[in-house]
Symmetry: D2
């Protein structure tokens, strides 16, 4: 197999990704949060309440949702982008949202500050090459059964196309144990931090599928050396149209933020 | 999770997919073969020699190649489509080739008789919806770590968009054993045949990554109830630009065809 | 890692294992069947009815049952061995049953013709060394997540202790897909037949966990080159104390035997 | 499946395991360390130097080594037990070592303070029942591909036999990524802490197979809620007879101990 190019041999120091005033990588520890999918303005106003005054420096949320079943809620599309943008502006933090395909790239680019490539598209190489030519940071999620090496090659499709403002995201891999939707791979995080200068964040919501595992796994990710954590939150998880069982409620979110911020500071990070 | 719609409850009898004069499903047993990637006219002329007079009823081959590394050979693109079309015409059999993204759909549609969606794109739902609106059969490969249920939902994205001329292809899944690139999942084939009326074929080349495993696994697939087998062949595997180690040589190809045809006939299939 | 010793380089020809008049390996195709666990004499009399006049040449059945839960039925112990022995004698075929630990080795050896080492004990090396010193054939099942290489090393613990009358059994491995209890690894069977002269049989009952998958997977195993198939049967699967959902009923058993015998003969095997 | 009995419903509070003056569980954070295998007195004197004055409160080390290959170093046996005992006595800390089978139980019990059941024997139920009748604490390691539920059932074999002085140990599970020997499952640790009152420790040496991953994964385990960490150390990893690539050198061990102790104190644990 070809040699990886964008390694610590290429750049020894951590790359800092700049999203407006938000910094990712190096000494910065990123908290990112938001709903799985935008549902309506009431929900987003609940999200605004949850995030106002918090240490969260990046809003996440889905408008175009890749769903396993064609009969599940597929996201609000352009209306969702609008609601996300308004929420981010109200909170004065940048927005990351997913580009699911080339067709929607222009539209998503108009609204988003960071372009997310989801797990299902980690190996959609044409899409990677295109976002590699955009003037916006990219957040690349690891495929559900991608090896670390395949993940790094996918990152090089983006970097090689010219975009080095790239954040990698570990979000859990497939395992044999039905106890969890996915298993968070912190071995992988340790190895990524060793091999690549790009910032590496963790998504323990998809990485477990259980809200009660999000806090311990977030702390574990920070301790393992991750550059940030991205979680799903919802003002009322039980009524969520998608991923309710893995979304933090307002109360759990506050506890999560306090504990995780505390640990990040102990570890010498800035927020 | 939503209920699957396109099951044996929807259509009890096997669906027959028609590709020119080639039939897939029911009593028909499909042999499909061709190179991993088109390399040049010399190679394709070797392929023509191998397939002339054989029982192979579908030519496979890649012009746009999704490769793990951005530095690997990425396929000949449009020139490759031309060479594939000429080869298929010379052999008087139809052609299946991969559509890797929306951008190339029109171009590929001009040349191909069957549109292949590769493993990496099994969950590229926008692409599935688009090929679901084409007037050509679709060959959908299972994702590397997709469950059978997820595979069937992906198929429903195509069917639900209007295209019921759909062939499913099991091509190996990820396992913990480094002895093989992938493990062929014949449990999955048995289950698919039980659940869905769409034809199910098997790709033992990707399903093992080893040329010496292709024959036993092809026979196993036929015995397990598959509706056909698709393999990679090469006039000179050792010089192949991709997947040489899993491609059948001319001699191995002849043995494979004889043994597999014999077994298919024993099992009551027509070729 | 050390080199494997008991390979095709050591003995090019297939090893034939002799169990009374039953032969395993080479041109012989073994059908083995019996209940998961011995329950009572009524059940075993039903088993006798099912096997009388059949092509089954080895009775399987468990007296000491290693069960995941300590609160599940653990087998009849010595009474079970008695019932198994009587059934085998009535049928005039040999008996294989599991030795779960050193403590029971002598007792099991008094009753069994073949000593089975189960999946859970594939890496219980002291037990392997002990059965390697017995004057009885050994049937070694692959561990649930053992690589083929680890499986072969385990076999060498037995052979190296002096016992070359050894049968290997593939019985399914762990995968990410909850559709099946295990995934039958026929890639592994093909590789084992390539590497080792010891006979290789397949257990599609544990290899799938579903009675409706046993026939297609048995046929697939034979086609892939296995030297035999071992299945679980029960006169009344719905009332079985263990593994009922994967046991063949009398009617399914007859169909299975007919189809599998037919295919084995087609493949040039003797029964 | 039967209901688990030894859950938080049975005992809400953490169980404290007492090993001489060492406490495991509750607010106590355990550091355990030692060589993979005892090799000779020179090595053990190096180990003594490394552990003298450290916060390590439990010596680990193998005298009977279950090795994948029968041709690998199998441990020093009884001589190894002697050397381990002398080292533990010199350091005035208790000793945990593995019981690989019933045959060696008495001998190991004479030397060890804690009886370890290794991954390969997690489902050796007769052995579990026997150690469940001993008057010594038991350290039970999770099988390489055991689900959390299967792990808890195995623990109940011990508890149900009368021994509630039980420590569970997560040590990595099989995955598809060859980058690591195993993947440490911290999802599993979070779930175990939720479900069971028994203390849960983590072995990042086997959980990664790489010395450079031991520190980040140890910190992650502590942050995820583990009750301790057990690592392999060696005075000269490059000359180790087994597991050298995952053993901490004297220098790495000191850094590990400082960082991990610091984090444990931050998390409110006592050492």
């Amino acid at each position: 197999m070809d040699k990886l190019q964008y390694t610590r041999d290429w750049k020894k120091e951590d790359i800092i990704v700049n999203i407006g005033e938000t910094r990712v990588g190096g000494d910065h520890f990123l908290l990112a949060a938001g709903p799985c999918a935008v549902e309506n303005s009431g929900q987003m106003s609940g999200i605004t309440d949850m995030l106002t005054g918090s240490s969260v420096k990046l809003l996440r949320g889905g408008a175009f949702k890749p769903r396993t079943s064609p009969y599940s809620f597929q996201g609000l599309g352009k209306d969702g982008l609008n609601l996300l943008r308004q929420t981010a502006d109200a909170l004065k933090i940048p927005l990351v949202t997913e580009v699911t395909d080339l067709k929607h790239l222009d539209k998503v680019s108009q609204y988003a500050d960071v372009l997310q490539i989801g797990s299902r598209n980690m190996a959609s190489y044409e899409l990677l090459k295109e976002v590699g030519q955009q003037a916006k940071p990219v957040l690349l999620k690891r495929g559900m059964a991608a090896t670390i090496k395949e993940f790094l090659y996918a990152a090089e499709y983006v970097a090689n196309a010219g975009n080095e403002q790239l954040i990698l995201c570990e979000r859990g891999i497939r395992s044999f144990d039905p106890a969890f939707r996915n298993i968070l791979d912190l071995n992988g995080v340790a190895l990524l931090k060793h091999l690549t200068p790009f910032p590496v964040i963790v998504d323990p919501s998809h990485g477990s599928g259980r809200a009660d595992a999000v806090l311990p796994l977030s702390l574990a990710a920070a301790a393992a050396g991750a550059d940030g954590v991205m979680v799903e939150i919802h003002p009322s998880p039980k009524t969520a149209l998608s991923d309710g069982e893995q979304s933090l409620s307002p109360e759990d979110f506050r506890i999560w933020m306090d504990k995780l911020s505390g640990l990040a500071l102990y570890l010498g990070k800035t927020m």
